[in-house]
């Protein structure tokens, strides 16, 4: 019989809540309170997350975000700025000692991205892995991924782009040189795709989530059992929201 991991469908949350929930699951799992967990979620209002090593004011046009009702948050994972609007975001939290997780960080990126690729295959989308952290379809990015390891626990989260508005994205992100912004937008349009572009129709979130569930189950030979956040995790989420992701101090770091 396959090992059981927990599946969380936490729906839509704001930016700081979403990052606080992932952080809370990591801590709860590291304390042995919850099983390995796969979570699917989305963002409301839309938000930009920046990588741990990025500077908020270099990456994001704060005034444009306010104007468009877009939030922003700094992640605990490295990588680049991501505009989260029409997408499914996943996270996987699992002990770094778990036999199904590679000790080697690069290899573990590959195996977890493999689960996303398998999920895409259930939508008849053939994808390829572009190390270290991208998944491509016909050479265009459909998924970005980022991993951290803390408290002897792996957290990898990533996006599956369901639809993308490149113009809106660039109205919110800062570019190094405004003079080449139009060229950059045109380049990115050539380099990014979405589930909608690949299937010629907007697929519901639940359909993408079902495909991803199968992808994770197949890849790791586990059964994902639907569960809920525990009361410990709710408390930890509040704590991380109040002391970290919901604070200016955290989001403005590295200025």
């Amino acid at each position: 019989m396959s090992e059981e991991w927990r599946l969380l469908l936490t729906g839509q949350h704001n930016a700081a809540e979403n990052m606080a929930i992932d952080r809370a699951i990591l801590t709860a799992h590291s304390r042995g309170l919850v099983p390995p967990t796969v979570r699917f979620y989305s963002w409301s209002p839309p938000a930009i997350s920046i990588g741990y090593f990025q500077r908020l004011y270099e990456e994001i046009d704060i005034e444009a975000c306010k104007k468009h009702g877009v939030e922003y948050v700094r992640r605990i994972t490295g990588g680049g700025a991501v505009f989260h609007e029409h997408e499914l975001t996943y996270s996987l939290v699992i002990s770094e000692k778990h036999p199904k997780i590679d000790t080697n960080i690069l290899e573990s990126y590959g195996s977890i991205c493999g689960a996303v690729m398998k999920g895409l295959s259930y939508l008849d989308i053939v994808s390829t892995y572009a190390p270290i952290n991208d998944i491509l379809v016909n050479g265009k990015k459909i998924s970005g991924n980022a991993q951290t390891r803390k408290q002897k626990t792996v957290l990898q989260h990533g996006t599956i782009i369901m639809d993308v508005d490149v113009e809106k994205m660039f109205s919110l992100l800062k570019v190094p040189n405004e003079k080449i912004k139009d060229k950059l937008i045109s380049d990115v349009k050539q380099r990014v795709t979405s589930v909608k572009s690949q299937m010629d129709v907007m697929i519901p979130f639940d359909t993408v989530a079902e495909a991803m569930k199968k992808g994770f189950e197949d890849t790791f030979d586990v059964k994902l059992q639907l569960g809920q956040l525990t009361s410990d995790e709710h408390e930890l989420t509040e704590e991380y929201f109040d002391t970290c992701f919901g604070t200016k101090e955290w989001n403005d770091q590295r200025l």
Partner: protein, 104 residues
């Protein structure tokens, strides 16, 4: 940008370096007349394990001589002795990013 502080010229400069086959590396540097690092901030879309190692490296680099070989040695030693793993940057590109601040 220059400031006069005592008898030293404090220079602030920045570099943005797309590491070949790697990630974007941004360095903000304060130096005394391009001789020693007074302060440094390393940012970008790279990965570092553990993440806190970047802040430690910034501390280690303070007061270092702005000389390519010395910087490379300090950074390489920091990576190996602290069991740090970088993805998208390495000792060579960090050295290059810092040295590019002097080109301004």
């Amino acid at each position: 940008m220059f400031f006069i502080c005592g008898h030293l010229f404090i220079m602030k400069s920045q570099s943005i370096y797309k590491v070949p086959q790697g990630k974007l590396l941004k360095i903000s540097l304060e130096s005394d007349n391009k001789q020693h690092i007074k302060d440094i901030s390393i940012s970008g879309d790279f990965f570092a394990y553990p993440e806190e190692s970047i802040q430690k490296l910034e501390e280690v680099l303070k007061k270092s001589l702005l000389e390519k070989n010395q910087l490379f040695t300090i950074i390489s030693h920091f990576i190996s002795s602290n069991e740090v793993q970088f993805i998208g940057i390495d000792a060579e590109s960090l050295t290059e990013g810092i040295m590019r601040c002097l080109d301004e």
